[in-house]
Amino acid sequence: MWLIGFFIRPVVFVMNKSSERGNLLLDVKDLKIQGFSDEKWHDIIKGIDLRLHRGEIMGLIGESGAGKSTLGLAAMGYTQPGCRITGGNIYFDGVDLANLSDVQKRNFWGDRMTYVAQSAAASFNPAHRLILQTTASTIRSGAKSKDQAYSDAMDLYKELNLPDPQNIGDRYPHQVSGGQLQRVMTAMAMSPRPDLIVFDEPTTALDVTTQVEVLSAMRKIVEKFNTAAIYITHDLAVVAQMADYIKVLRYGKEVEEAPTREMLSSPKEEYTKSLWSVRSLEKAEQQKSESVLSLEGIDAAYGSAKVLFDVSIEVAKGTTVSVVGESGSGKSTTARVITGLLPQSAGSVTFDGEELPKVLKDRTKEQKRRIQMIYQMADTAMNPRQTVGEIIGRPLEFYLNMRGVDKRNRTLELLEMIELNGEFLQRLPSELSGGQKQRVCIARALAANPDFIICDEVTSALDQIVQEGILKLLLRLQKDLGLAYLFITHDISTVKAISDQVVVMNQGEVVEQGQKTDVFQPPHPAYTELLLSSVPDMDPDWLTNLNAARQ
């Protein structure tokens, strides 16, 4: 009997898609959503109103857990598994989606409202060609024939500046780059000419230079077809480029809403102001002094694929060197060479005057102790079954032979250094917030009394306010303990906040390096120029001006 459903096509609601600008399209009233976790229901959205007119773009911003994705999906009448709507209405063109069955809502999805997800790589079905996925819902709804839909998809690909628009649709998702995939997903969202598109952090996973292209393409096409959109992001500068209105969310409630320019120039609420101020953190630059670590002429390869070419970097005692670059630039590989995880094929690593053996197992315990590392994903960098006390205690025991009371006292001291306290000793990683987890990872690195710490994208997975806290902590620890950092990041504002020297890398080579002020001062080498100019400003006209300048 289940097969029957497969052959019966859904009955399409016949509705006129009036695309006049200005009519009220979406009217969410006092929406409440709960999610099920830890054996009980929690409020995720606690009564939010949202009004969107045709042709308008609403930006939703907030930290993780603010409920912005849940709200964005709910605007389509969709709730994720484990969530339920407990109150309120979602009027879409007069129809209350909150009261429709899944089968009824399906007639809206992929036809009158579409969705662009954060990770295009994960959101395309790996088994099907792109054009098939781009046009599936358009063909299903009967709006266009297969030929029409295909040729329209090719036009959209062209509109979105995808290379070879006639043929790119014949490829499989893994055969195109992340930035291209995100644009194909935008084409997929646009294919049925919906009234509403929900963009859920569509550029978060992309490099800055790619992000600019994708943002421009998305903005162009949404303007062209006068489509209403909800744009969800945690990046203020990005939302400033896209949205007509910005709504700030926190803990499932609205903080404030205003037109974009007004919101940027004069935020009313304290919370919004604190979001705005995060990017102002900047370290006073220190001059180079005696070097603690120096890389000279490093080449390295994964198998036969060479990934580092003649990389030379010097880190002075008590200073921070930031390594910036996009994915694939060789930043993390450099860290692997320093730690001995990936032996270099040429060049040398000198630490405090002595050359380090290439391979980790040839290094002495003392050499290992003095170089520590903090990782991007604090979640996966800790054993989920060990308590915070065990996690921090382990290097104390291993490197410093501390036991019993000594170990316990030192652990407490370390917890205080990272602004936590003894209550955390018995907690498991799963009982900590994202920022607390990263703090515990910092304490674990500190436990070995290192001279040098490699920080590999340590703030990338965190919300901006939490990021600020971690960066301040790292700066304070550097001052108190005289640590040197090699700080790997792709985020320019983080670089400004933490570094003394900056190294710009691209495709395994060092493009430019020097004191922070020198590197950020024009003239730049071409790649640095591209990288720096691609970082969005909080100015709503930034993207327009940039595109005009690049023409």
Partner: protein, 326 residues
């Protein structure tokens, strides 16, 4: 060369290497069987001289590595050797080719396995997909409970219960499956009905549950949510979006169960008196008919290796990353 082709060739090469390794293991394990082959084959009454003559005739006096090479060289040329029973030393040479002994038995086994596969594989897939579609419903739970029950009973028990109800209390199906080369196809099908039913009940749970699990596992993927949000129905989500990505694990489990149908059904053969290869091998072990044992073991190894190879290939060709490289 297309990477899929080179991978397949590589797997094929590995399969051959595995087969060679298995042949060594088979040979060594048989060497380890207790007792003197000649003495056991000829029985208690044989005189020392007869046993010696027998050993000489079979080449048992040669060192084992030589006998191994003789055997492997023969197998490569398609010659599985001569059976031990009915050799010249016992009076006159009435011994038969191993291939001649195994041939008809293998055909019977493949027939039984083939019919069972034809019924159980599509049924398992259908049940797996439908339970995934209606997961946690009454339908899903009852199917799961039923298949788990049938897999939990030993197969001889399932066989006897079926005989009791379908053959004894109601004379619907024959309880004996004794076929020979002359049995016509329709008669043959009727006679294997009960063994097929037994085996289906035994293997279906594994395949069905894997299909269900593989599909449900994929339902948490972002692309499934994406498919739902582009208006795909439940059935479309399962068939078009989850299933194409689930073939690799499903194929592995199917291959495993099909191999079991060829090599592991001796109990069912005994219960239904079905002249399959399993019984032949057990008999050969008891009488120390070494060439037959070796031949059967080798066929079993080939079955496993071949079916797993096919499952691997299915895994490769249903993975677009391998089929359509960058």
């Amino acid at each position: 060369m297309h990477p899929v082709l080179s991978t397949v060739l590589q797997r094929l090469g590995l399969g051959l290497a595995t087969l060679l390794a298995v042949s060594i293991i088979i040979f060594i394990s048989i060497e380890l069987l207790p007792g003197d082959f000649g003495q056991i084959v000829l029985g208690q009454a044989a005189t020392k001289e007869t046993v010696a003559a027998f050993r000489l005739e079979l080449g048992l006096d040669k060192p084992s590595y030589l006998r191994y090479f003789d055997w492997v060289v023969g197998v490569v040329q398609g010659d599985l050797g001569q059976s031990f029973s009915g050799r010249a030393a016992s009076g006159q040479d009435r011994s038969r080719e191993v291939a001649e002994l195994i041939g008809p038995r293998l055909k019977n086994t493949l027939f039984l396995a083939g019919i069972t596969a034809l019924i159980s594989v599509p049924l398992a897939l259908l049940l797996g997909i439908s339970t995934a579609l209606y997961r946690n419903s009454i339908y899903d739970r009852s199917i799961n409970a039923t298949t788990l029950t049938t897999i939990s009973f030993p197969e001889f028990f399932v066989a006897y219960i079926l005989i009791l109800f379908l053959s004894s209390l109601n004379q619907w199906l024959p309880s004996l499956a004794n076929v020979d080369a002359a049995t016509p196809l329709d008669e043959r099908l009727l006679r294997v009905a009960l063994p097929v039913l037994t085996l289906t009940l035994v293997i279906i749970a594994h395949m069905m549950r894997m299909t269900r699990a593989a599909i449900i596992n994929l339902l948490a993927s972002p692309y499934i949510q994406m498919a739902q949000l582009s208006g795909a129905s439940r059935t479309e989500v399962i068939i078009k979006h989850a299933l194409p990505n689930a073939w690799a694990p499903i194929a592995t489990v199917i291959a495993f169960n099909l191999a079991y149908l060829v090599v592991g059904v001796v109990v069912v053969e005994v219960v239904f008196v079905y002249p399959g290869i399993g019984q032949l091998m057990v008999d050969a072990v008891t009488t120390r008919d070494i060439p037959v044992v070796q031949g059967c073991a080798l066929i079993f190894a080939v079955t496993y290796i071949l079916l797993n190879l096919i499952a691997d290939i299915i895994g490769i060709i249903t993975n677009p990353r391998l089929l359509h490289p960058k």
